[in-house]
């Protein structure tokens, strides 16, 4: 029941904030902040309870769940459930939610009520995505989160906001509809096999598809998530959307929306279609690695700070994809940590860039220059997060990338090498940011205020979390572990369909056989 | 009477229909267009009569009566429109009534 409350609180707060916006601009902010904070606390309580409960009920399917009949004619249920994976992502959602409300405190002055309405509803949609285990409900939430995001970009964005918002919407819609077809095919196949109409995740897990169909259906899911992730070559919506969105929008896009793609891969693509995913893994991993390098190189080429940070997301999420398709414990845990750490570090970078833009009204690095002297604290903070994003050991991103690559190494040495070179290139762009924006002579005579108390209140926890993830990620890893084992269990190839017995033997324990020479 | 084979009757109706259609497509005067429509409708009516005669049923002829009625209704509305159009557009050329497009 608490899962429903988590969502309802946000939805109601959104509506309230929307109406409060007609009164003044303070109330929407306060309402949103309180609502997300309540949710955040609730999710932390869930986490702390869970850390003991996992030991008590190891056989429990989910940590928490709600299951109501919704549209019986189609076997659709309103079924929310939570395991370690969703729990962590939910905590991240609320954390970044709080940050987004705070960061918009000054930036958003127009249509404040409606802004917060959208913000709350995006969060609710994301929550739905992370919690839904009925595929219809999942699709519902998946589509639902797009609209408020669209508004966020289209109304409060920067110069080319319309273009960016429309592009974002079209990309995600098209891919989402492909997923819908895939879901439906799976659904009808399941019905043909069992005579039961069901969108339930657990029911559909064992659906037997012919290899050909499985591949197509898997691709339907894959493309939807790959666009969201975003994977090369479906990434081009992202730089535009990130660049044009208001700060809170960028934070949520980078920190959460992209994660829904990764989540989908983890939760659905591989467990539902183990064989197809296995066969497809070399392609996916190759694309992931291309994305890593390509994103980094493009980031290096940018002069717009926000665009640069946006391209780094392409690069970082490449690691996540790589880890997911390597599908062994190390790589999966790495992908998870990578997701969380990326959410925080990139989110923080967007906030800082947003802060800079607020102060200087430009995102062009060449117009900034030499800011260190005038805003040392902000510069130092930016340095910190830039370093986090190049995978400096001791910070969260490093753990994610290292584990991912450690796991990937078992699958493919070549891809690991290229990905490692991708990290190297990431140094180029991070240093470019520091050099162009912060260092150098203050030729433009900037004199702008440094981070204020509100901004510090946002930045300091995020820095601490990154340090914590970098130095003691164990609580996170432990929370994910049971969920991950379960996912790996699902993803064991179906005995009926395994055409080649050797494949099965190799795939033992969810470990994919080596792909050489990629 | 029964000696007229059905397909010949239908052929006649078809030819009439085609004539009406051709008139619809080539004439620009609204009144002529309405007349062409009448021809088309009556061709269809004729086809009904022929078909009814094939099965020895009165149904075809009954339908024809319905068609006549409705055609009359249509034309009356049509003529009313023609009046209004002439008043507004000062012409009966249908191609003039193409302000909305694209």
């Amino acid at each position: 029941m608490i899962l429903v409350w988590l969502i309802v609180i946000l939805l109601v707060a959104g509506v309230l904030a929307g109406f409060a916006g007609r009164v003044n601009t303070l109330w929407p902010r306060v309402i949103s902040l309180v609502a997300v904070s309540i949710d955040f606390v609730l999710s932390l309580i869930l986490w702390s309870e869970n850390s003991s409960r996992v030991q008590l009920f190891p056989q429990r399917k989910w940590i928490e769940q709600v299951d109501w009949t919704w549209i019986p004619r189609f076997g659709i249920h309103f079924h929310l459930a939570m395991d370690g994976l969703s729990l962590l992502l939910i905590v991240l959602t609320f954390l970044l939610g709080i940050m987004s409300v705070l960061i918009s405190w000054k930036e958003i002055q127009k249509g404040v009520g409606f802004f917060h309405f959208n913000l709350m509803w995006i969060l609710a949609g994301i929550l739905g995505v992370f919690l839904a285990v009925d595929l219809f409900l999942f699709y519902f939430a998946w589509e639902l989160m797009l609209v408020p995001m669209y508004f966020l970009i289209a109304i409060w964005g920067h110069e080319r906001r319309i273009y960016a918002a429309v592009k974002f919407f079209l990309f995600t819609q098209l891919s989402g509809l492909l997923m819908l077809i895939a879901i439906l095919t799976l659904y009808f196949t399941h019905h043909r096999e069992t005579g039961v109409y069901s969108f339930e995740y657990k029911d559909l897990l064992g659906t037997v598809l012919t290899p050909h169909t499985a591949m197509l259906v898997m691709l339907g899911f894959f493309v939807a998530f790959a666009v969201k992730l975003p994977m090369f070559p479906f990434h081009t919506w992202l730089p535009d959307a990130h660049t044009e969105a208001p700060t809170a929008g960028s934070v949520i896009l980078a920190g959460l929306l992209l994660k829904t793609g990764a989540y989908g891969m983890l939760r659905f693509v591989v467990p539902l279609f183990p064989d197809a995913a296995h066969a497809f893994a070399p392609v996916a991993m190759t694309l992931a690695v291309i994305g890593i390098v390509y994103g980094a190189v493009l980031a290096f080429g940018q002069t717009d700070l926000k665009r640069l940070v946006a391209y780094t997301s392409v690069s970082h999420l490449g690691f996540v994809l790589l880890g997911i398709f390597a599908w062994n414990e190390l790589a999966l845990q790495g992908a998870l940590i990578g997701m969380i750490a990326h959410g925080i570090s990139t989110g923080a970078l967007f906030m800082l860039v947003g802060g800079l833009q607020e102060r200087t009204h430009t995102r062009e690095m060449d117009r900034l220059k030499g800011l260190w002297a005038t805003v040392p604290v902000m510069s130092g903070t930016m340095l910190f997060f830039a370093l986090a994003s190049i995978g400096l050991p001791g910070l969260g991103d490093f753990v994610g990338e290292f584990l991912t690559l450690l796991g990937t190494y078992r699958v493919s040495i070549g891809l690991t090498l290229v990905a490692a070179i991708g990290i190297l290139i990431s140094t180029l762009y991070a240093l470019k940011v520091i050099q162009r924006a912060l260092h150098g002579p203050n030729t433009h005579e900037w004199s702008i205020p440094d981070l204020g108390a509100r901004e510090l209140l946002i930045m300091i926890p995020m820095m601490l979390i990154l340090l914590w993830l970098g130095l003691y990620p164990q609580p996170v890893l432990r929370t994910f572990e049971p969920a991950m084992h379960k996912l790996q269990e699902y993803a064991k190839p179906h005995p009926v369909l395994t055409l080649n017995p050797s494949v099965r033997a190799l795939s033992y324990n969810g470990r994919l056989p080596e792909i050489k020479g990629k | 009477m029964a000696s007229v084979p059905m397909h010949q009757g239908l052929l006649l109706a078809g030819i009439l229909f085609a004539l009406g259609l051709t008139g619809l497509l080539v004439r620009r005067n609204v009144v002529f267009i309405l007349m062409s429509l009448e021809i088309m409708l009556n061709a269809a009516g004729l086809a009904f009569v022929v078909a009814g005669s094939r099965w020895g049923q009165p149904d075809g002829q009954i339908v024809f009566i319905f068609i006549l009625t409705m055609a009359a209704a249509e034309v009356s509305v049509g003529l009313a429109l023609v009046l209004q159009i002439y008043r507004r557009f000062k012409t009966l050329d249908v191609d003039a009534a193409s302000e909305m497009r694209g």
Partner: protein, 630 residues
Amino acid sequence: MFHLVWLIPAFPIASFLVLAIFGTRLSKKAVPLFGVGSIALSAVVSILIMFRFLTSPPPGNHYTQILWTWVDVGGFKPQIAFYLDALSVLMTLVVTCVGFLIHLYSAEFMQEDEGYSRFFAYMNLFVASMCTLLLGNNLLLLFLGWEGVGLCSYLLIGFWYRDPANGLAARKAFIVTRVGDTAMTMGLFLLFDKLGTLQIQDLMHQALLHWAVGSPYAVAAALLLLGGAVGKSAQLPLQTWLPDAMAGPTPTSALIHAATMVTAGVYLIARTHILFSLAPSAQFAVAVVGAATLILAGFSALTQPDIKRILAYSTISQIGYMFLALGVGAWSAALFHFMTHAFFKALLFLGAGVIIESLHHEHNIFKMGGLRKELPLAFWTFLAAGCSLAGLPLITAGFYSKGLIIWDTWSSAQGSHVLWFAAVIGVLLTSLYTFRLIFVVFFGEVKTPVHKRPGLRMMVPCVILAVLSVVGGFLDTPPFLGGVHSFTDFMHLALPVMTEGPAGGMTEILSESFVTLAFLVGLYLAYFFYVQKREYAEKLTAPAIGKALHQFWLSDWGMDWLYERVFVRPIIWIARVDKQDFVDNIYSGMALLTEFCYRGVRKTETGRIRWYAAGIAAGSIIFVAIVLFL
């Protein structure tokens, strides 16, 4: 006692945090209190641990302190844990003590700088990282320190951030070393994949169990680690960053780019010496890299006009000696040279700092001169260090450490005569460029007047280091000069004894004589060209070939030029050309196509009734045709 080891990195970290957070609000007095004091505390702890280690060594001569488990996933279980043995204790001691002296020096040197607290924050972070590197009990923690020192190096090279050239040098340093780090990470992946752990002692144990000598895995892993070491220690082919790194404040150059960080590669190889022993070809590669580097850098040092760049090439060259020693299995010799090098090279830089500071930030040695009288204390300390570097026989530490390496190069089972010869040539070069530097700077007529003289806080460290540069060598002397083995014996608690090979007619005393000879030749040449016949030196570079060679050496054998064209420009070019992301054209193309279709179909909506009716008629006819004929 040993359980205090965590304090060694903890003090600087704490100080770093204080300085980073409150730095701008602290007074000029308080900053060094934290910045220097923390290092002093670390040094004290190190000394205590060293003392304890000598007097009552822990069981098995090593001690591990586990703080917490870092990560525990699928059998990968690195810990945040510190490992003490002779190797790490020694290096930590050197790092903290030399570090303390340099910090003390900086307290005065950097006094006028606006980034005073920032400087100490970075320096403290560096010391903490370096100690973590040295003390970490697994390769991942080592890597954390490894990257940490790289970061600090970057930050400090670019410390004076207003000048874009400094930023460029800083980035170059960071990126070039990261190239090596990439290789190193691959090495870590390989090691973990094959041996299932990154805990260094376990790893070595497992390697011995699973890999035969010459096993391809061992070779690959060793070469990959060597890649990391080469980057960090500025050896061929990744040495290009170090001369540029001299853009940083001079104490930084002394601490990071001379005494400590650049020797991290040496430490890494020594730490994983078992792996290298299992991979003789990789170990031979280490020796070759070392020998080649020491020669090439020596030549480059000959031509440099910038005092700090001379020292930088000298550092590269001296680390080449250490690599050479590692390559021939003379583990303790390498460490011995590391220690003495830390003393004299730090001192050289500090001395250079004094000179530069007193001459209005003048770096060009040819604009200096006659400073012997002007800055006597600086001269004497600098001379002591210089002699030590060049290997003045019998009384300097450099002579003993370098002589040991050279002899080991001959006598080791893995050594070779060619390498020995290269090392001796290296001595000649070292002596030549060192005395070229000394003669040009301290002798002759005064060219730039001295405007400022160093204070106590700057000179005390110099004097202490000068003493160490001289007496440090007596810890380990050849048999014919007393035969002290205390250093080697201590190192053998952690590192294996070198395997002797056939001496082939050479004796240690003969080898040392050759070294002495080389030293003297170098000294004489320097005297001849830079004191007696200054004009001859210019004549050397007058002919085309001399000029070309001069230019070639000056530009570090053209490697920067090469890298610029092969790596840097293509990447920048690609990034610039593809700024707009050509992939996006696919999608804009699709959008354009759609718009084109729109324009097309729009033409059908003519607004004409007859056209519409024709559409209906045509549709009907087509459909009738379809149902009839299909």
